[in-house]
């Protein structure tokens, strides 16, 4: 990678916060610096302006792109056009559901290579090295893209959000793209007080919960702790909880301060969804793998411990 080209960061700028986009930009700034390139930010959300404005505040060239259908089809086309326009050699995007589909598609169309779920990016002797979890998080892999552009989706908290500074302006771009996929109905996300990914406390239940009723108790515990309810893939597969609660490699990535894992064995790709936080694990089995990753452990029957915790927490809160 030489001094020609840019590092393009892409975000959605949905609503008020675009933390994923800001993290992508933070990463772009870091990588661009190491490669001696400039960073560019494109906000493709609906509306795109807020994200772009935040980026501009960091002093980078920021574009607010309008005109797509917001789906993977049109986003791919728009990002590829931007890659060509800005001769991007690296494209960074959040590894959320959209980002992980876009990385391979953009890479394929632009003749580059896609890498998903990066947890670290380094520049070693002028080459980009991407570290990512594999085998459900049982192992880590470091790979080196051999073509440009390298389109990398980033796990959350891999980079700090770009710092804001006054100045910079936003270019509004119109890139009308027709998607071959036609929208029939949009079902917006269920409104919650706090988004799972932004929650400070998450209480998750797994296979060990046994049934859907047990999740009601967990939700109560989450409420008492001021947090949000999450779940493992196994619990979602049982139909005990809505898929939007799934935490894991193929679910949401959460970075709370406290993560309470109840009835979760820890053997699967679940822990890969946990970017940070102190883990308190509650499990009947003292040898469950979750205790290898937890800082605090409670051994016992969740059916008895969860209500006891709810009472204990409420007692300290004076209510």
């Amino acid at each position: 990678m030489s001094g020609i080209g840019t590092v393009l960061a892409v975000g959605w700028g949905d609503g008020a916060s675009d933390r994923p986009g800001a993290e992508a930009l933070g990463g772009a700034l870091a990588v661009a610096a190491k490669l001696g390139l400039t960073a560019v930010y494109a906000s493709l959300g609906d509306p795109p302006e807020p994200g772009a404005e935040a980026a501009a505040a960091s002093g980078v060239r920021a574009l607010a792109v309008r005109g797509g259908a917001g789906d993977a089809e049109s986003l791919t086309a728009q990002i590829v056009a931007l890659v060509e326009e800005f001769a991007a050699v690296v494209v960074l995007i959040a590894a959320d559901d959209r980002g992980r589909q876009l990385a391979p598609r953009v890479a394929a169309r632009a003749g580059g290579v896609g890498v998903n779920n990066a947890t670290a990016l380094e520049v070693i002797e002028g080459s980009l090295h991407v570290t990512r979890p594999v085998f459900g998080g049982k192992a880590m892999c470091r790979l080196v893209p051999l073509r440009v552009p390298a389109v990398v989706s980033l796990r959350s908290r891999t980079f700090e959000p770009a710092p804001g500074a006054p100045g910079g302006s936003v270019e509004v771009r119109s890139m009308p793209v027709q998607s071959r996929v036609r929208l029939i109905e949009n079902i917006p996300p269920v409104l919650e007080e706090e988004h799972l990914e932004d929650a400070r406390v998450v209480v998750s239940g797994g296979r060990g919960m046994g049934d859907a009723e047990a999740f009601a108790a967990l939700e109560e515990l989450a409420g008492a702790l001021g947090g949000v309810l999450g779940a493992s893939l196994a619990a979602v597969d049982q139909g005990w909880v809505s898929p939007s609660r799934q935490v894991g490699l193929t679910g949401k990535v959460v970075s709370p301060e406290l993560y309470v894992a109840v009835g979760i064995s820890g053997a699967s790709q679940h822990l890969a969804g946990l970017a940070s936080g102190v883990v308190l694990a509650i499990n009947k089995d003292a040898k469950a793998p979750i205790f290898e990753s937890a800082q605090l452990g409670l051994i016992g029957d969740a059916k008895l411990l969860v209500p006891a915790l709810i009472s204990a927490v409420r007692a300290t809160r004076g209510g």
Binding site: D71, D97, Q101, P104, R105, A108, R109, V113, G114, V115, N116, N117, H129, P133, V134, F135, G136, K138, A139, M140, C141, R142, L143, V144, L146, R180, V181, R182, I184, E185, N186, P189, L225, L233, V236, D237, P243, S244, T250, E257, L258, A267, S268, Q269, A281, P289, F291, E292, A294, L296, G297, L298, G300, L305, P307, A308, L309, S311, A312, V313
Partner: protein, 264 residues
């Protein structure tokens, strides 16, 4: 409209529920050590297969299961035959588990080229081993077909394929033109059905068609990345077990500890 032809992409992966303590890496080959666990049909592939079978139930779709794999490992294809797919095809290739995504996609394009009138390709959102999550999307790009990811439901309304998929935290119901590629995510409505025993037994005898990778005339793709290192991260945390005689005492001690750690 004649019955659509649906191709389901299958992959056998190292048992995803293998206990972490048994997982080992062969440092020379940068792959999991041989024999560390058995290879079984991956979880997202099972969801994809169930989605395809539901289309078969609903509109009589013809389902072909297609897997690029180690010639010896046929768990997924046998399972697919046992749940009554119409045909099973293996693209035989040693060490296919670690084939780069582009190469896999290339083989699949060539294999699909040998099939007649494919209307829909259904794949899991990612294979639970290397977790690249790319093959289906690379395939869609190579074929130039529309692609919808993270699908939970699919149905044919007349000739129109309608699909419910995850999008931006919520869901969308979209209409997809044929031919197309779908990736499927896990859902409690997509648990793979049990096989009838008579079908299980018949599956042992049903033929699996073999395409040789060398015959498919692929190999022109150059790898997109190089694996520099593969390691098992050291577990450094030591869990502090909170004591207590009975749940009430445990809970009280836990809350106290959390307060000490300023998490409460």
């Amino acid at each position: 409209m004649s019955a659509p032809h649906v191709v389901v992409l299958l992959k056998d992966i190292l048992d995803p529920e293998l206990p972490g303590s048994r997982f080992r890496i062969d440092p020379g080959r940068l792959e999991p050590a041989e024999g560390v666990g058995s290879a079984i049909l991956g979880p997202f592939e099972r969801s994809a297969l169930e989605l395809a079978l539901k289309l078969k139930d609903a509109v009589g779709a013809r389902v072909t299961a297609l897997s690029v794999g180690d010639p010896g490992v046929l768990d997924g294809l046998r399972k697919a035959l046992a749940v009554r797919v119409d045909a099973a095809i293996q693209v035989g290739l040693k060490g296919a588990a670690n084939l780069p995504p582009e190469a896999t996609a290339e083989l699949l394009v060539a294999a699909l080229g040998r099939l007649v009138d494919v209307d829909l390709v259904v794949a899991g959102r990612q294979a639970g081993d290397w977790d690249h999550g790319q093959v289906a999307y690379l395939l869609a790009e190579a074929l130039g077909w529309p692609c919808v990811g993270l699908v939970r439901r699919a149905r044919y309304e007349g000739d129109e394929l309608q699909v419910l998929h995850d999008h931006a935290g919520g869901q969308r119901l979209v209409s997809v033109p044929s031919p197309a590629v779908l990736t499927v995510t896990n859902d409690d409505a997509l648990l793979l059905r049990m096989a009838r025993v008579s079908d299980l037994m018949a599956a042992q005898r049903r033929p699996i068609e073999r395409f040789e990778a060398s015959e498919l005339g692929s190999g022109s793709s150059t790898p997109g990345f190089k694996i520099a290192d593969l390691w098992v991260p050291a577990r450094t945390s030591v869990c502090e077990f909170i004591p207590g005689e009975g749940p009430e005492e445990q809970a009280v001690n836990a809350v106290r500890r959390l307060q000490e750690m300023r998490l409460l």
